[in-house]
């Protein structure tokens, strides 16, 4: 399978990429790692007239500290995210989840920014961004803006990015010292999540003092499980208490009914996997 014809440009600066995007209009599409976009083009589900490849823009790669904030460049590959010492120290939920994305070959090419901008509801990394209240840094023709992850994902495969904007980085607070786990249920090892749960918790003396939980593929966007978080906080990190709190995981969800799983089964999974994710995170 071969994509429909397109023009291609690989600018070396963000400014040039924004200019190309402004010129290309709605016929232009940004190419990050290509691990979702290229299959989409090959299947002819999309046929943009111009691909703007961000692969040669060094300023969009890598992880850095800005004060107390960890900023992951949008074009940082999954492989580099996993290996990064700042990510491992401050964002173990991101590291552990990224390890479970697709397979090694895809992780060498695929990028954090590309995965988030693609906004597949079954993609794993949106739940991490939502759970950790990441700030999505966006550049456009009139400068930069920042959008909280909770407002970035707006619908199936749809984000707050305007047609003339590029996601440049993802900024996180430090979660150093938090326990973290991503519990993923899928039918084959490299498949998308049927349902998955991202959990990060702080436990002191057997009591949960802080909790972040978000769900993958329980609706058109990643969903923060605030009911679970509220039920966990100030409670014991015990099996019974966590499993009871996990029952709140279905609040506010809208799982699809499809060939992989009926909606009711997804709801069941959300509760079971939330229990497992939180218990594993609490260690």
């Amino acid at each position: 399978m071969i994509p429909a014809s397109f023009d291609y440009t690989a600018p070396t600066t963000l400014a040039d990429a924004l200019a190309a995007l402004a010129q290309g209009g709605d016929d232009a599409k940004i190419l990050a790692g290509g691990q979702s976009l290229l299959p989409v083009l090959k299947l002819r589900m999309a046929a943009p007239g111009l691909l703007i490849d961000l692969g040669k823009i060094d300023e969009l790669r890598g992880v850095r500290m800005e004060g107390d904030t960890i900023v992951v460049g949008a074009m940082t590959t999954h492989h580099d995210v996993i290996a990064d010492p700042l990510v491992r120290e401050h964002l173990s939920l991101l590291a552990k989840t990224t390890e479970q994305v697709a397979d090694a070959q895809v992780r060498y090419r695929g990028t954090l920014g590309g995965a988030l901008a693609h906004a597949d509801p079954a993609g794993d990394l949106g739940a991490v961004a939502v759970a950790l209240d990441a700030q999505m840094r966006i550049a456009g023709p009139n400068g930069s803006r920042s959008v909280p992850a909770s407002q970035f994902f707006t619908d199936y495969f749809t984000t707050a990015l305007a047609e003339n904007e590029i996601l440049t980085g993802i900024a996180f607070d430090s979660f150093a010292g938090w326990g973290a786990h991503y519990e993923k249920f899928h039918t084959v090892s490299q498949a998308w999540s049927t349902v998955a749960v991202a959990a990060a918790v702080l436990v002191a003396g057997g009591t949960v003092t802080a909790a972040r939980v978000a769900l993958t593929n329980m609706g058109p966007t990643p969903i923060r499980a605030r009911g679970v978080e509220a039920a966990l906080i100030d409670g014991p990190a015990s099996d019974d208490a966590v499993r009871a709190a996990a029952l709140a995981a279905t609040q506010g969800t809208a799982p699809v009914d499809d060939a992989t799983a009926p909606a009711a089964y997804r709801s069941h999974l959300a509760q079971v996997l939330t229990g497992r994710a939180v218990l594993a995170a609490a260690g």
Partner: protein, 161 residues
């Protein structure tokens, strides 16, 4: 058309390609490296795996233009100049880690990359590390055994290759 310069198996090629040409197509149809196979064509099966700047990628999900200025190694570039097999190739041969052989080039290229990442993988790490490569003859047992043999061989050789 776009001009690209790519090193494939140690030789530098300069070509004009359509932007939509996939790396696997370029390797097979322009450079003649038909050892790299197209399997599922949807980035599931891993048959098209090559090394891109030394790490494993699925060449059906990379554009040829994205390889401009980069180095690609295919299954055809693994053996030594005198034709002696790479330790991973030798291990696949010794352990009969193939039946029909269609997945083999991709399995071997991914295994080479895996053993660079982790020179002494456990059996579970080998299975996890190869989860982007499918064998439809259900030959995984011998593939795992081959990777274990190759890990030992590379360790003995000082990991020189």
């Amino acid at each position: 058309m776009a001009k690209i310069t790519v090193a494939v198996d140690g030789t530098t090629y300069q070509d004009e390609v359509e932007p939509r040409m996939l790396l696997v197509q370029y390797l097979r149809e322009k450079v003649g490296k038909t050892g790299t196979l197209v399997g599922c064509d949807t980035s599931n099966c891993g048959a098209c795996t090559v090394l891109f700047d030394g790490v494993s990628v699925k060449s059906c999900s990379v554009l040829a233009v994205q390889a401009d200025g980069h180095e690609v190694t295919t299954i055809e570039g693994l053996a030594g100049i005198n034709g002696e097999l790479h330790p991973v190739q030798q291990a696949f041969h010794d352990k009969h880690a193939l039946q029909c052989g269609y997945c083999t080039p991709g399995m071997i290229m991914r295994s080479v990359s895996l053993l660079k990442e982790n020179p002494h993988p456990t059996e579970a790490e080998i299975r996890e590390g190869l989860n982007g490569n499918l064998c439809r003859c259900t030959g995984y047992q011998n593939i795992v055994a081959a990777v274990q043999q190759a890990a030992d061989a590379l360790a003995t050789a000082g990991g020189a290759r």
